[in-house]
Assembly symmetry: C2
Homo-oligomer: 134 residues x 2
Amino acid sequence: MMELTRKGEYAIRGIIYLAQQPPGRVSLISEIAAAAEVPQTFLAKIFQSFAKLGLVTSSRGTGGGFVLARPASAITLREVVEAVEGPILPNRCLLGSACDRGGPCRVHAVWKQVQTEVVHILDGVTIDTLARNP
Amino acid sequence: MMELTRKGEYAIRGIIYLAQQPPGRVSLISEIAAAAEVPQTFLAKIFQSFAKLGLVTSSRGTGGGFVLARPASAITLREVVEAVEGPILPNRCLLGSACDRGGPCRVHAVWKQVQTEVVHILDGVTIDTLARNP
DNA sequence: TATAAAGGGGATCAAATTGGTCCTAAAGGT
DNA sequence: ACCTTTAGGACCAATTTGATCCCCTTTATA
């Protein structure tokens, strides 16, 4: 239960690689894909999401590629994961207010607590931290 | 991300209904399914899992049905969820020791922490508590 | 000892999601 | 012009999810 998908896995590996490059250094998607051992076309889609959300900046043409849009210490694991997997949401009922057939369900508060805790943990981890890891 | 499936949702609804019955009272799967508003054949499968894991006891034939195998206060939400969704496992890498291409991945400790927290929350909630909820 | 009333278990199936490819367009450098 | 590189959409196969169906076994009781 609650498993990260390949997409999430790849997203993390890819952005960690970017974070390990010298600041300002532009990386090609082909380079990132090779280093992170991820299918290139798939990773390209992932980085499109990153770009749209402002986690990375992209440039086209010769000399183009991807760079972090912010210092790695200002990008959280939560942002990266949510960029490709959508919001942390242990149960659909956390979206609307009425989840059960009439009124909030009996487990509502528990899922809310799970959500809060997970978000808190992932918010506390930056890509910088992960990139510097042993 | 991390969404509970219908199966998990149904499992919880079904066992809460059982917990709300007078102690010892046998409930038919048809009765539970109607009350919980869950497809009966699907719920039957779910309760088979419960029975195999010893959360409920089942009896066949006339007068048969399902009863909680333990007091509702001794059944945790975690047991119910894991019975049908498998173990709480934010990342595959939490199974083996080496997750990344050689050695544990950089995010390993984070997923471990998420797992521990979620397990802790769900372990702290009993079916009894849910059944008595407003 | 039939027979009806349950649950057990396997096979099967459609729909949704996941994981991934391909192609064409657009943008930028030479 | 022409090459390089990302953008975006269409498309596709495999897997998972969400069921349904059918036949078997167990059990009470008429």
